[in-house]
Amino acid sequence: MTQKNGLTRRTLGLSAAGTIAAAALPRHARAMDAVDRKDTLIIEAWPPGPTYKNYANLNPFAVGNDPRNHIVFVNEALFFWNNLKAEHIPFLATGYKYADDYTSVTVTLRQGVTWSDGKPFSADDVVFTFEMLRQNGEGKKDLFLSADVAAVLAKAEKLDDLTVKFNLKRRDPRFVLRNLTVKFNTGIFIVPKHIFEAAPDVAAFTNFDLEKGLPLGTGPYKIVLAAPERIVLDRRDDWWGAKPGIWGKQPGAYFAKLPAPKRLITVPRGEQQQMAQALAADQIDWMVEAPVPMMKKLLADNKAITTLTDRTPPYGYIDWWPSSVWFNFDSPKVADKRVRKALMHAVNAKQIIDIFHEGAAEQSFLPLPDFKALHDYIVDAEPQSKAKGTGKFDAKQSAALMTEAGFKKDSQGFWAKSGERWSMTLTSASALDAMAPIIVEQLRRQGFDVAWNRRPDYLQVIYSGKTDMTLFGHLGGIFDPEDTLLLYHSKFYRPVGEITSRFARFQNKRFDELTDQVGQLPINDPKLRPIVKEALGIWAEEVVEIPIAQWYHRIPFNTTLWTGWPTTANPYQSPTCSYWTTMLVVHGLKRA
Amino acid sequence: MSVLEIDNLHVGYELAAGTLSAVRDLSLSLAAGERLGLVGESGSGKTTTALAVMGLLRAPGRVLGGQIRLDGQDLVGLDDRAFAALRLARVAYVPQGAMNALNPVLRVSDSITHALRDHGAPADANRIADLLAQVGLGADVARRFPHELSGGMKQRVCIAIAISLGPRLIIADEPTSALDVVTQKQVMATLRQAQDRLGSAMILIGHDMGLMAQCVDRVAVMRDGLLVEEGPVRRVFHAPEAPYTAELIRSVPVIGQDRRAGTAAPAAAADLLRFDGVEMRYGKSLFGPPPAPALHKLDLVLPDAPRILSIVGQSGSGKTTIGSIALGLLAPSAGRVLWRGQPLAATPPQTFRREVQAVFQDPYSTFNPFYRVAHALSVPLRRFGLATGDAARALMEESCRAVGLDPSLLDRFAHQLSGGQRQRLMVARALMLRPRLLVADEPVSMVDASMRAAILDLLVDLRDRYGISVLYITHDLATAWRVGDDILVLERGHVVEQGDPDQVLRAPSHQYTRLLLDSIPMPDPDRPWSTAA
């Protein structure tokens, strides 16, 4: 009797729970048409779940804005970049021309582009977007990326409705690629002037009001529902890009039609095992990322799951984030080059790759990702790195260097100097949490008393230089090595305690000179190769870091409902759903 | 025909170690309208007998033999359901602890309704009011909760429930032991009237021979599970056959007999303890009205000579408060307490502690369960620097012998001793410390009747042989009369009368004292309770 009672009570209680929860659901939901699951693409989005904390913010320049995934379906950029093919894709723009001295650039815009409210897209919008950022960067500084724009842009001016001239503060042959082109998680989307100019405080402007048609963009999707747990976008069949003739002879003909999914649903990033199971169960179509062991399990569980390299290793493509153990040049513990080198020879990158990547990655010898655009530079510099012993596991040499530097092993087998054990800390990026214990253990086995420092404020520890070593990736060059070299440029140096994004705190005059020279030359200039090679030689000589491995983005997608994903044979875009180029992948999908 | 017949009843507890008999060879019979007193000390088997009749024995307790017949029906071996139906409907029970017998979260009307309904009887407001009226309670009582009733009212409610279904037999298990004498008398009257009206038989269980003499037709005396004596009340009281019965009757102190007063008060001796306008209010109230005083401006003098001062009053009269103040455990809200002419606050605590000791009502809780009982005696010896080691042990053993205790008891724990032994130990402790003043707060109220006289005699001994003054606090006028050199009667914090017990109790001038005196049940069926109540 009791049990029966209990069960009914439970059911009653739970339905009460359900009603409460359902009642709390979105005020922002609009009446929605039912769309078949077969026409729906479900994407795991980047911001960590289980909820979007900021789902009602579609302002690309708001600092606290996480769901940029949705901005990418609503707003579009002047240019995109396809990293896999090193291809520049004109989008809202059709082309650009630098002045001879690279102090200005003129961009021509595409004809026939319209905002979702029907108003034409024009040079006014582009000028407005960039001038707003520049002025903010010179003044209030509270918009995302505004300081970066203000650092280089003197003024954006409209020449005519379809032509914009960007006057620069200095010679910059990479202005278009860096600022007008969207790739990975960088670049600037164009926003409508007639909406944003009405906002009194752009930093606090949410650009979100479904009733009023906000957010308003040029992109092919409009948001129909935004809730903490879901964002739903429906295809706009009046998208400008679907009109015949508008793309001219531009390659990538897949633009000239409406994207196939009638509806996109994004869910906040979940716990990996949970999302993997959802993917295997066809509940979602596209996952942010899966590490190798999980990928193997996924491929085994569901025949419809595939990756860029299909069902074979490395199950993905190289990302801009090769992993390294970075030395903090301001730390007295690693100030001696022999110590750095000894540490380097104590690390066995092969073993790390075998365990962490289950063998599905390559060791790296440079701070550069092996991109198509960077491959030549790697070919140039890798032999010289190897010659200097970079990335070589050699316990004997490690010990010899330590002895040479005046160290002795203490009773417990750890290196000590004048009786004092040489204790060091290694701090890791969250994505490398599982790699850190392996490295720490390798170092300890060679007598280095290294402790893994994983504090809740690890980012501040890293960027303010309060650790001896950092296990991290590289957010460097994409289309050429300049951005990578800038990671070591001393003009960004800040003393320990102050935040700087260049946390190597490396200072080398010659290296600075070479980097500055690179910055003056346009990409693909043949003069670049020897300069870059010399700079990377200094990097290897000074043992700036211990390169570990190329970082792979392993993105599983489910072909049960959607096919046409990028493949090695047709790498039309990086298939990463957390990148701002996601929309271009959606353009390529077909219904299964 | 008899309502109840018990033949050779044998009740025992079947334990792993063997069977422990609680009642043996008990035979009794009871006719309609008859009242039987079942007398005995704790452990004598009287309550076990009642439980057996009602089928309430709990495992491992069991009826091992004999018969219990109610109106000719044999009850032994009935199942739970049959017994449940029989209870209240045919055998009603008036509990001992009426204070806690009523479910605290139910209104009186609910308690009555439950009793009626569960026996298939209708229950409505009229019926309830009628029942309450039969026990002398107003209809408004029905809406009240137990905690809103006085002890006497609660007991009456229990009587109302007991008679609600017109039972053949009422078992009243010490129904008034928690009540003061005045209320006891009223409740017993109500119970008897109700029983008379129903014409049912009644068993009154108790140990108070006075009460028995006043209330029952026949008396059965039990001891260690055996029936010692049984007979009409007059015969038993006037010519007890068993020596045990005689001892029980004798142990009831009676005013006017056997007084053990000391010497006359010395004139103009120095004061030992003096209360000057002492007043006590409990609790503080930030807002609201100030709480009523537990003690009104009290003046009290204890001369510096061995005397026993009896303080008498009902519960709530403030007598225990006087004891606590005298012990220095409680500071008065107003007035002064002088110890040998010095304000108490100015007396060195160590000296004062040595000179004033106490014996409390509940001797069990005054022993720390963690230690052997010797601890309670050795600590003050050490603390007051009187003796240590072997000397202390010798002293403790000596005082044990002085109160008639085997010194080997010192090495036991409190729960291994009887109530009387524990209380004697406390007296031994007082004796050993030779204080000037002993505060004895109800020292015999939780002790079996036979032990009572012995302990009271010990108090007298303290005075006479060791020169210790005693503040004897009690609700029992008879014992106060017996040992007191002076008496003080308290009513709700006021002293209504004080002086020589002979005068005060033989010729009370205050009607409250008279009321108390009249309410005492005399252990003599021929001296009936006066009808004054």
């Binding site: 439970r10 606290g64 935040i499 | 017994f83 479910n103």
Partner: protein, 330 residues
């Protein structure tokens, strides 16, 4: 008299809330983690190096008043909190804390409140039966199981349930509030979906706490059974049901109810881990995310709500207890 007691009790409650809120202000400030730097560094970690972080940091510090002296920040915090203005999130600027909390609260209350009440009801009856002498023998077999469950923390049980029901047997979803493909709305299928998702987390809470309630109840019931009124009820031949429910259960329940109110107050704070394990979109998850980013204002907001909830519940128990127990009515 009642009003007086209420006033006094209210004053005490306000004092507790005020002190707790002040403590709440200081705690996150103790951490070396700067929420603005953290936020920007997170952007840097994924989005490439920001050239001039300093300017952004300062702009936002001024925006949130974090550049002012601590005492001044404290005063305005107290003032805002007193007027129930919980401010804006730092990490999700310009989202309002009230909105964030308001969105999370129903999930937490829906899941935790109902499962706690179910556990309470089941546990109380079970505990009472375990102590009841006339209860079926079979129940005794449950006792060890109940004891094991009582000893286990929610999250451990949650992990076991996930492994068995979600991974091995794939009967129930792994976590989340509702299906990935589901479109929220007030429809039956959606409500059912929410129920399906709440089954495992609810079960882990119910199972893990049912034992605790049962054992507490068992103890009280044993005590109550020793009371005179129980013996008296039996001596009056009252029915078993009557004695069990109106006499035993009813009286043993009193301290349980006090426990329940306190427990409800703690569930939100105490079940962060359950919400984490099940990726449940409630207050616990919000609080944990805020703590990770040291998002002062969200922490302040969530903790303040929790503190008020607990304090009010304690007050309610104090004030309502007399209704349950007539003895303390004055």
């Amino acid at each position: 008299m009642f009003l007086l007691r209420l006033t006094k009790r209210l004053l005490l409650m306000l004092a507790v809330i005020f002190t707790a809120a002040s403590l709440n202000f200081l705690l996150p400030k103790l951490a070396p983690k700067d929420p603005i730097e953290t936020k920007l560094l997170e952007l840097t970690e994924t989005g490439g190096a920001l050239t001039d972080m300093k300017g952004l940091v300062e702009a936002y510090r001024a925006k949130f008043g974090l550049d002012r002296p601590l005492a001044e920040q404290y005063l305005s915090y107290i003032k805002d909190t007193a007027s129930l203005d919980l401010g804006q999130s730092i990490a999700f600027y310009p989202a309002r804390v009230t909105d964030l909390v308001g969105r999370a609260l129903p999930w937490t209350i829906g899941l935790l409140l109902t499962s706690t009440l179910i556990a309470f009801a089941l546990g109380t009856v079970l505990g009472a039966l375990l102590a009841w002498e006339g209860a079926p023998r079979l129940l005794g077999l449950l006792a060890p199981g109940v004891m094991v469950l009582a000893a286990l923390p929610y999250y451990l049980l949650g992990l076991v349930l996930i492994y068995v029901f979600a991974f091995s047997w794939r009967l129930l979803p792994l976590g989340g509030g509702f299906e990935m493909t589901a479109i929220p709305g007030l429809r039956w299928d959606f409500v059912l979906d929410i129920l399906r998702h709440s089954l495992l987390p609810a079960a882990s809470i119910v199972l893990a706490s049912v034992g605790t309630w049962a054992l507490a109840m068992r103890g009280m019931m044993v005590t109550v059974q020793g009371e005179d009124y129980m013996a008296y009820a039996e001596a009056n031949g009252l029915s078993v049901q009557r004695r069990f429910f109106s006499y035993g259960l009813r009286n043993a329940l009193l301290p349980q109810v006090t426990g329940l109110a306190l427990h409800i107050g703690y569930i939100a704070a105490g079940s962060v881990l359950v919400e984490r394990v099940f990726q449940y979109p409630g207050l616990g998850n919000l609080l944990f995310a805020a703590i990770q980013q040291n998002d002062y204002f969200v922490i302040y907001g969530v903790v303040f709500i929790l503190v008020v909830m607990i304090a009010v519940l304690m007050l309610l128990v104090d004030m309502l207890y007399p209704l349950l127990d007539p003895r303390v009515r004055r």
